[in-house]
């Protein structure tokens, strides 16, 4: 794979975590695994950063946490998305997509700019 690993833009990690939890409650490592699978290894995130994001979300009431037991009978902290979290995810996804579209559009259209084209 030639694509280099991308640093995660500030704020988007929260969104990714919420997305992960929108399917089902997970513990920390499950979220990490899900993210790695979904991004196919192209995102560069330290595991601790992800935990910080999770704590932050919990503090804001977007997640709820409770201790549970894993399949292998280990005690783990499970996170569940709250109603507020779901609403937040919906709104922010929309924002993010609009934002990304706009930026993409500008960056790609910019190559057809007369000034640029004359220079090339």
């Amino acid at each position: 794979m030639l694509v280099s690993r991308l640093p995660v833009l500030k704020g988007t990690l929260d969104l990714l975590v919420l997305r992960a939890l929108s399917w089902t409650p997970m513990h920390g490592f499950e979220i990490v695994e899900w993210l790695e699978r979904a991004a196919a290894g192209s995102l560069d995130v330290e595991d601790s950063a992800l935990y910080q994001a999770v704590y932050r979300l919990e503090e804001r009431g977007l997640l709820q946490a409770d201790w549970g037991v894993t399949e292998n009978n280990r005690r783990a902290r499970y996170y569940k998305i709250s109603a507020a979290g779901r609403a937040h995810l919906r709104a922010e996804t929309k924002n993010w997509v609009a934002y990304a579209d706009t930026v993409t559009n500008i960056l790609t259209v910019a190559t057809n700019n007369p000034a640029n084209s004359s220079a090339s």
């Binding site: 513990h27 920390g28 490592f29 990490v32 695994e33 330290e46 595991d47 601790s48 950063a49 935990y51 910080q52 704590y55 932050r56 919990e58 503090e59 009431g61 280990r74 005690r75 783990a76 902290r77």
Partner: protein
């Protein structure tokens, strides 16, 4: 900062931090383990896998610290949120449960509100009247200075005389006990110039030092000085209101001249409206002019002074007397200084103190009732609490919830209390008798309010918590198993509540006895035989001196002509001139001697009631002449006198007073007066006066500056209006309105009646609260005993027997309270003694009536619980659990 050691003692905080750390560490450990397992599954060696897991996690120590920090934040925030949501839940719950028991809530709120409100209103009044009389700096050292005759005051009332100006000047010069002496005189004068209509204005005369005495400053310009006084004192300061309304708050008025009465004054400044003349007259003066002690007399106005710190009243009185003695040639002190504090001068001082005591009792009853209500509530909720505990509510959580309920109740109660206190104060001020005029200065007293609320809230919380503790003491299991109604501690609680009812009843009994006594006293006053007939009697005042009738001859001619014309008015039945009108007293000062009896000591001075009247006076007043006749010779040379029957009886118990001679001697040459008649006892100076001291009637002379004509009519006051027309045509352009003697006499009763009404109101309040308390206890008892009653009914007990048991129990509590309360009343009524007329402070009627009333009310309070007991269906009651 709390040291870690101390934190460890309390463990709580430390353990909580431990928990966050542990949780974060557990989470990290699990993560690393799972990551390592994942890597191993992908083929890594265990050692490499673990290192790789750590590397992927990021800088371990730093991340751990950051995560713990984040966890702490998260935890604190969530606790806050939880607390708020719990609180909201608690308040919601409390509101719901209070609303469910509407009657209970209403009674509790009313108890709180009335207790707090009544206490605050009355104590605000008392503090306004007694404590905050003179709003000047160092008010505690401000005293009234007067004089009283050294001896021989036989009038039975304390007589104080405003000292003469020459004595005051001596004092001002030589008495070191005082920082300053001040007087304030308020008179009405005619303002003549400065545009606008001439009008009557209030003019105060004060010493130049008065402003610094009050601790205030001029608003504009300057205060007058001693130099101004020496220069003739023709300077004036404007009152603030006058300056703003009449002079448009303009600075250009300074230096201008106004004419007040007959003199002109130059305006030199403005005094703020907060400056008042003592005794604190609510009416603000329009003008302030200097008082010149060298030329003017204080008249009847008060002399006040501020004592130097540390000087006692007795020391000051001694010094004033010695200064006075030195200033006289003989060194004899005919009048000694009498210093009074402002609160000693208040009318109804004793009554106000008594009322304060009464409201304190009411507040106690209210607190006891609150205690009751809360105990009853917590008892009846024990089962509910037990169920909730069983469902997982922590004890702390339950406690918090009950406290929330308590706080809500006391909070709303206190707010209502403030409202009632405010309204009550307004009511008291509006209903005040004329003699308690300073009441209008009363403001809601913040301290009292705080104390009353504090006491009520404290009792609310105390008994709220007590109730909770009681319910949490018994184990959840027990409460659930046993019926809440028969749980183990109910006996203790029952005793506590019975004790509360007994004390409520005792306090009420004390109050009720006092109230019955006052009611009887006022009834006595109203019924008391005045010795004359005030109904149909009117007084017409003729201010002769003010209209230029300045000589005895001019006055004599006027009154003779006026009387002649007055008799032509058809509704006038009879009329007579009198020196003083009923309701007032006048004294002759000297040594009272009876001819033929041993002479009193040389230096004795008596104050003898005296009135100069026309022969028709006795017929007009309807005072019978018991012995002898009315005056047969009204000339000065005739020297006839009529005395009162009480005095005559005392001195000549067997024989007749007629023919004996008496005099109020100023010297040996004072002529003797011959008693020609004895008039029936008449309380002309008001229904409270009763005396066998001499009252001398002398023939009316023309030496009075102002005369009063008493008129008896068969119809009403309006038909007497022609009298005023006659006065007008004869030169008294503005005669004062005709006064009803009956109303004057009734006015004497206004004060006692006001106090009586207040005490009665408080008593009713206390009794109502106590009755509610008794009702509560008895219903609770019946509720608790439902099963027992059921069994007894099933075993054949008759309804009347069941009913009797309930009533007997209730009355038992009341009687216990009444016995205690009557004991208290025996002691408490001593306070009322000075206000009782014709009633002894041990009046058996009041005690018996009070006790019976309370017992009767208790029977009523027991009726509903009794009915409930009678309606118990044995089958349901026995099966209930």
């Amino acid at each position: 900062m709390i040291r870690a050691g101390i934190k460890r003692v309390f463990r709580l905080a430390l353990r909580r931090r431990d928990r966050w750390e542990r949780e974060v560490e557990d989470e990290i450990k699990l993560h690393l383990a799972l990551r390592a397992e994942q890597l191993i599954a992908q083929g890594a060696s265990p050692d490499d896998a673990y290192l790789e897991a750590v590397r992927k996690f990021g800088p371990l120590v730093e991340s751990r610290a950051r995560l713990i920090d984040a966890a702490r934040h998260r935890e604190q925030r969530m606790q806050r949120t939880e607390y708020v949501s719990d609180l909201r839940q608690d308040i919601g719950f409390a509101l719901r449960s209070l609303r469910r028991q509407r009657t209970w809530t209403a009674v509790a709120l009313l108890t709180f509100a009335l207790g707090i409100g009544a206490t605050t209103a009355v104590i605000s009044v008392v503090s306004a009247v007694l404590l905050h009389l003179l709003p000047y700096p160092n008010a505690d050292r401000i005293v009234y200075v007067a004089q009283e005759p050294t001896e021989g005051n036989t009038t039975g009332i304390s007589v104080s005389i405003t000292p003469l100006s020459q004595i005051v000047r001596e004092w001002m010069r030589n008495a070191h006990s005082f920082e300053t002496f001040e007087t304030g005189q308020l008179v009405t004068k005619k303002l003549k110039t400065v545009g606008g209509d001439p009008s009557q204005v209030n003019v105060a005369s004060i010493f130049p030092t008065f402003l610094s005495f009050t601790g205030q400053r001029v608003l504009r310009g300057r205060m007058f000085t001693q130099t101004d006084v020496v220069n003739g004192g023709h300077v004036v300061l404007l009152g603030e209101t006058m300056w703003r309304t009449r002079f448009a708050a303009s600075d250009s008025v300074f230096g201008k001249v106004v004419t007040l009465g007959d003199s002109t004054y130059q305006i030199i400044g403005v005094l703020p409206s907060t400056v008042q003349v003592p005794p604190y007259v609510p009416k603000a003066p329009d003008f302030w002019i200097p008082f010149d002690i060298r030329t003017e007399d204080l008249g009847l106005w008060n002399l006040v002074g501020r004592l130097r710190p540390g000087v006692t009243v007795a020391q000051a009185e001694r010094e004033l007397d010695s200064v006075y003695a030195r200033s006289t040639n003989t060194g004899k002190v005919l009048f000694r200084a009498r210093i009074t504090t402002p609160s000693q001068r208040v009318n109804f001082r004793d009554s106000l103190i008594m009322l304060t005591g009464a409201v304190a009792l009411v507040l106690l009853v209210a607190c006891a009732n609150v205690a009751h209500l809360l105990l009853a509530r917590s008892a009846s909720r024990q089962r509910e609490l037990a169920i909730r505990a069983a469902l997982g509510a922590g004890r702390g959580r339950l406690l918090r919830q009950l406290l929330t309920e308590c706080m809500l109740l006391t909070g709303v109660g206190a707010a209502l209390g403030i409202a009632i206190g405010w309204a009550g104060l307004k009511g008291l001020v509006a209903l005040r008798p004329g003699s308690l005029d300073s009441l209008q200065l009363a403001r809601l007293d913040g301290t009292t309010l705080a104390i009353a609320i504090g006491v009520a809230v404290a009792s609310g919380l105390l008994f709220g918590i007590l109730g909770v503790l009681q319910s949490s003491r018994s184990s959840t299991n027990d409460s659930l198993k046993a019926s809440a109604l028969s749980s183990s501690h109910s006996r203790r609680e029952r005793r506590l509540r019975a004790g509360l009812v007994v004390s409520e009843m005792a306090l009420s009994a004390t109050l009720i006895v006092g109230a019955v006594m006052l009611v009887r006293s006022v009834v006595n006053l109203q019924r008391s035989d005045l010795g004359f007939t005030p109904h149909g009697l009117y007084a017409v005042t003729l201010p002769l001196d003010d209209y230029g009738f300045n000589t005895p001859a001019a006055r004599g001619a006027f009154v003779a002509e006026f009387m002649r014309r007055a008799h032509d008015v058809p509704s006038v039945v009879s009329a007579s001139l009198t020196g003083i009108q009923p309701g007032s007293r006048w004294f002759s000062v000297g040594r009272f001697e009876i001819e033929g009896e041993p002479r009193p000591p040389e230096n004795k001075t008596d104050l003898v009631d005296i009135n100069s009247v026309q022969p028709a006076f006795f017929a007009t007043m309807k005072i019978p002449i018991k012995q002898g006749t009315v005056f047969t010779d009204t000339t000065l040379e005739g020297r006839q006198v009529i005395v009162n029957a009480g005095f005559a009886r005392k001195h000549w118990p067997t024989g007749s007073a007629v023919g004996h001679r008496v005099r109020v001697a100023h010297s040996d040459s004072t002529p003797w007066y011959t008693i020609v008649g004895v008039a029936g006892e008449a309380s002309t100076s008001g229904p409270m006066a009763e005396s066998s001291a001499p009252l001398l009637y002398t023939p009316h002379d023309n030496n009075h500056t102002s005369d009063v004509m008493l008129v008896r009519t068969n119809s009403d006051a309006r038909t007497l209006a022609p009298l005023l027309d006659i006065a007008r045509t004869m030169g008294i352009r503005r005669p004062p309105p005709i006064e009803s003697v009956e109303e004057t006499m009734r006015g004497f009763l206004a004060g006692p009646r006001f106090i009586m009404l207040l005490l009665t109101a408080f008593t009713l309040l206390a009794v109502a609260l106590a009755a509610i308390g008794l009702y509560g206890v008895m219903s609770h008892r019946v509720e608790q005993d439902t099963r027992e009653i059921g069994i007894r009914v099933a075993l054949g007990a008759s309804g009347s027997r069941i009913g009797r048991t309930v009533i007997t129990r209730g009355i038992g509590l009341t009687v216990a309270g009444v016995v205690l309360g009557l004991g208290g009343a025996r002691w408490a009524t001593k306070i009322v003694e000075s206000q009782l007329h014709g009633v002894s402070p041990l009046d058996p009627v009041s005690f018996i009536v009070g006790a019976l009333l309370l017992i009767a009310i208790s029977v009523v309070a027991c009726v509903v619980p009794m009915r409930r007991a009678l309606s118990v269906d044995p089958m349901t009651a026995i099966r209930a659990d």
